[in-house]
């Protein structure tokens, strides 16, 4: 009777003969019995179990840590789809990496504790095992094939910019660009900002023509202002030494190399955010002070800001011209 058996188990009589009957519970009970037998304390195995428990605790805390402190172990994201996709790809690799880490370190610790020299232990004189060696070679290769597949599958989402949203900045039809490297959304409509690195400040020039003729275009230093929900393509270059453009929450780094053009893009989902970053390639003594900020505003605010910046720059230019006239008129220049 099932209830009697349950009572017997409760009373600790599980050692009663287990018949190999066809009943479905029998196999399970045998299994439980074996586990119990394995768990029954034996003085000699206490230390071994302590080690096992320690190992389990380490693995457990690692798994827990990867959940609880996910932010600690993953790159910054949240400002642009490419940063989010890099974060996802990173996490996929991280899970495989944790599995590999646990298996290899586990095997290492197990052999170090289990096979310590003691009286009477004779080391097995094994020189190798071809089948085993071939299988772990193939195993390692398969993991890497999986990683390469995942990376290539994610690549276009990270590299190729999407279209701007309907509520983004309204842009004219796509302009023909001279470059074939420049990433462009499928509909060819993106807002271009030129990013120029120099010791020790970032300069931003706004407008589609900035890479050909920046004259007369609005610009700003250190803080970039960009419209939300709009695909913004960055033309990155440098005028003196190598710098590297990096706003962690807006995607990866792209080096600004003098004589070369580099490109990246971002599409920020929310207005009102400010994303910070700094130059990531050693560019001289004040490398650490070459900071950058990207302030995301609504498309309307962006248009207004551009206009304001344009008039401010024109006003500044006028003042300089006046000053120049005065100085040259007075014979000082």
């Amino acid at each position: 009777m099932p209830s009697q058996q349950a009572k017997a188990r409760r009373d600790g009589q599980s050692a009663a003969p287990a018949f190999r009957s066809g009943r479905p519970g029998a196999a399970f009970r045998r299994f439980v019995g074996r586990i119990r037998a394995a768990l029954r304390p034996e003085p000699a195995s206490i230390r071994r179990r302590l080690v096992a428990a320690l190992l389990l605790a380490t693995i457990g805390s690692l798994v827990f840590a990867s959940g609880a402190f996910a932010d600690l172990l993953t790159p910054e994201s949240g400002g642009s789809p490419n940063a989010d996709e890099i974060d996802t790809l990173y996490k996929m690799i991280l899970y495989i990496a944790i599995a590999v880490f646990v298996v290899v370190e586990g095997a290492l610790l197990y052999s170090l504790f289990k096979f310590r020299a003691k009286k009477g232990r004779v080391a097995a004189q094994i020189h190798g095992n071809t089948r085993l060696e071939i299988s772990w070679t193939i195993g390692a290769a398969l993991i890497l094939v999986a990683l390469a597949t995942v990376t290539f599958a994610k690549l276009s989402a990270i590299q190729d910019p999407p279209n701007s949203d309907p509520n983004g900045l309204q842009l004219a039809e796509g302009v023909l660009t001279a470059s074939v490297d420049k990433p462009m959304p499928p509909d060819g409509k993106a807002y271009t900002i030129c990013v120029t690195g120099r010791q020790y400040v970032w300069r931003y020039t706004y407008g589609a023509d900035c890479d050909r003729n920046a004259f007369g275009l609005p610009y700003s230093y250190e803080e970039m202002v960009a419209p939300a929900n709009t695909t913004v393509v960055l033309d990155i270059e440098a005028t003196d030494v190598i710098h590297s453009w990096w706003i962690p929450k807006l995607g990866g780094k792209f080096d600004a190399v003098p004589g070369y053009k580099n490109y990246t893009w971002f599409k920020a989902p929310r207005a009102g955010e400010v994303y910070v970053g700094q130059c990531a390639e050693l560019c001289g003594r004040n490398h650490a002070d070459m900071t950058a900020r990207v302030r995301i505003v609504t498309p309307q605010e962006f248009e207004a800001w551009l206009e304001q910046q344009r008039t401010a720059i024109a006003e500044g230019d006028r003042q300089v011209q006046t000053l120049r006239r005065q100085l040259s008129g007075g014979g000082d220049l």
Partner: protein, 566 residues
């Protein structure tokens, strides 16, 4: 206990006698003029270890500066100089030459040779290293270099770095390069021509295999570096424009040339470390190395692939996607032979009878740490992920896991393992183990959190960071860890110094080693061996011991003892 095992087994009669020559000169002249591979090896090891300590002090100064946000302990100028000195010292004046030091001392002993093939070239290669160090550190008196250990152009051009320190750096690359090339040719010739009778390619100790590949990689990788820094020198002083974009040159060309040298250099540093581990593990597991052929072959495969992965240092540079994809796949591939080695080392421990002596502690610590460095390497090889990680503290953590936790732990394993052979005395085991644990804890404290700092947006080579960046705690843990690590290293140094006079007398073969260097006195006489035995396997000492057991009556005793206890 382990020690009973030593006592009960017979020791082979060593056939080597000291050759006494009349001493006519002062002792220091003996050292300066020597062509004996053992003396040169010791000079190499002591000299480069001294630079390890100097580089370590430079690292501690930088950690002090980064211990608090907005710290002004160092000026940005001095901070840049320190990381340039630290990186250059550790690569060119410590890891590469100390491996040459181990090879100098032990390679001829391991293959049963009486000296290196070209003893005078050997002395030349050491003294060139000394001159390179003098030129480089001489710049401290004027203006040290400050463009980083890979000195990217155009920052290293005269316009942006006018100081002569940059030229001192260029000469360091040149002179250590010639020193290493001369050494590499010497190692190659010695290994190919001077092996003991019977020692075919399949019976060469694995450390010798790695030195063979180390020599080949040096010969392959150093000429491009020499070319790159020569072009930099002419750009700086003689009006050429190889790397100056305003004159039509290309800064990216410098990166290609430098990393075509720089990545093989990584394996030049780590392969001999692999060799040391492959020697230490079987001795202390009392078991043959698992998969000898696979380990030797994977060394060669790593060297081959090492020449095909350089552009993974340049994933953020404007390069076509197909190039990025190629270098990602080739970098992934290198994980396979490296993985094979790690699996084989674990399998060597498996079912062994592990003697827990200090060299084994460091060897096991090496594997444990190196696995982490290997795994973080996979993240960096996947180029879209690398766009977030490159040039941050994640990379700093990654290469310290492979070089500091990897190569340096292997070097400590090597020093503890071979110290009795070179000095005739054993190191203090208790002090060695305490030092290991402090180093292990300090190392992980220093560098584990640096992964998190990098992921939170901390670029490398910044002398300051703001308090609101959220990385203050990581940096404080790291700074404390660095000093813990320093304490651990100091204990080992104290151990090495003290044991030279007070250590227990080692005898010819204290560890029951497998290779031929244990078949002579400790320290070995000038002629190394009176007679060289015929080699019949990878473990000639085991063969000799077995033969001895057969001839003497002790064999029955040990069998009886085994039967009793098992």
């Amino acid at each position: 206990m382990a020690t009973t095992d030593y006592a009960l087994r017979p020791t082979p009669q060593v056939i080597a006698h000291e050759v006494h020559a009349e001493r006519t000169r002062a002792r220091w002249i003996d050292w300066v003029t020597t062509t004996d591979h053992k003396k040169i090896g010791i000079m190499y090891i002591v000299f480069s270890f001294a630079f390890f300590l100097i580089g370590g002090v430079e690292a501690l100064l930088m950690r002090l500066q980064l211990g608090a946000p907005n710290n002004s302990f160092l000026t940005p100028e001095h901070f840049n100089e320190l990381f340039t000195l630290h990186g250059t010292t550790m690569v060119f004046l410590f890891v590469v030459p100390i491996m040459a030091g181990f090879a100098n001392y032990f390679l001829p002993l391991m293959i049963g040779a009486r000296d290196m093939a070209f003893p005078r070239l050997n002395a030349l290669s050491f003294w060139l290293l000394v001159f390179a160090a003098v030129v480089f550190y001489g710049s401290l008196l004027w203006q040290p270099p400050e463009a980083g250990w890979f000195s990217y152009a155009p920052l290293s051009n005269e316009l942006y770095t006018p100081s002569g320190g940059q030229d001192a750096w260029i000469f360091l690359i040149h002179i250590t390069g010639i020193s290493s090339l001369v050494g590499a040719v010497n190692f190659y010739a010695t290994i190919v021509n001077m092996r003991a009778p019977g020692m075919g390619w399949g019976r060469m100790p694995l450390f010798v295999w790695t030195i063979l590949i180390y020599a080949l990689l040096l010969i392959l990788a150093l000429p491009p570096a020499a070319g790159a820094v020569t072009m930099l020198l002419t750009d700086r002083h003689f009006g050429t424009n190889f790397f100056d974009p305003t004159g039509g040159g290309s800064p990216v060309l410098y990166q290609h040339l430098f990393w075509f040298f720089g990545h093989p250099e990584v394996y030049i540093m780590i392969l001999p470390a692999f060799g040391i581990i492959s020697e230490v593990l079987p001795v202390f597991a009392r078991k043959p190395i698992f998969g000898y052929k696979a380990i030797a072959a994977s060394t060669a495969v790593i060297a081959f692939l090492a020449a095909l992965v350089w552009a993974h240092h340049m994933f953020a540079v404007p390069l076509p996607t197909v190039v990025l994809g190629f270098f990602m796949l080739s970098s992934f591939l290198i994980a396979v032979p490296t993985g094979i080695k790690i699996f084989n080392w674990v399998a060597t421990l498996w079912r062994g009878s592990i003697i827990t002596a200090t060299p084994l502690y460091f060897a096991a610590g090496f594997i444990g740490i190196f696995v982490v460095g290997g795994i973080t390497g996979i993240f960096l090889a996947a180029f879209p992920v690398d766009w977030q990680l490159t040039d941050t503290y994640f990379v700093v953590a990654h290469f310290h896991y492979t070089l500091m936790g990897g190569a340096v732990f292997a070097i400590f394993a090597g020093i503890y393992y071979w110290y009795p052979k070179a000095t005739g005395r054993l190191c203090n085991e208790t002090l060695g183990k305490i030092s290991f644990w402090i180093m292990f804890v300090g190392f992980n404290m220093t560098f584990l959190v640096q992964h998190a700092a990098g992921l939170s947006g901390m670029p490398r080579r910044v002398y300051q960071y703001p308090a609101d960046m959220g990385i203050t705690a990581y940096n404080q843990i790291s700074t404390i860890g660095a000093f813990v690590l320093g304490l651990g290293i100091a204990l080992s140094v104290w151990n090495f110094v003290r044991s030279y006079k007070t250590g227990a007398v080692a005898g010819p073969d204290p560890w029951k080693g497998n290779t031929l260097e244990w078949f002579t006195q400790s320290p070995p006489p000038v002629n190394n061996f009176d007679e060289i035995p015929r080699i019949r396997s990878v473990e000639p000492m085991k063969d000799i011991r077995r033969q001895l057991e057969r001839q003497s009556g002790i064999q029955r005793e040990s069998v009886a003892q085994t039967g009793q206890t098992s």
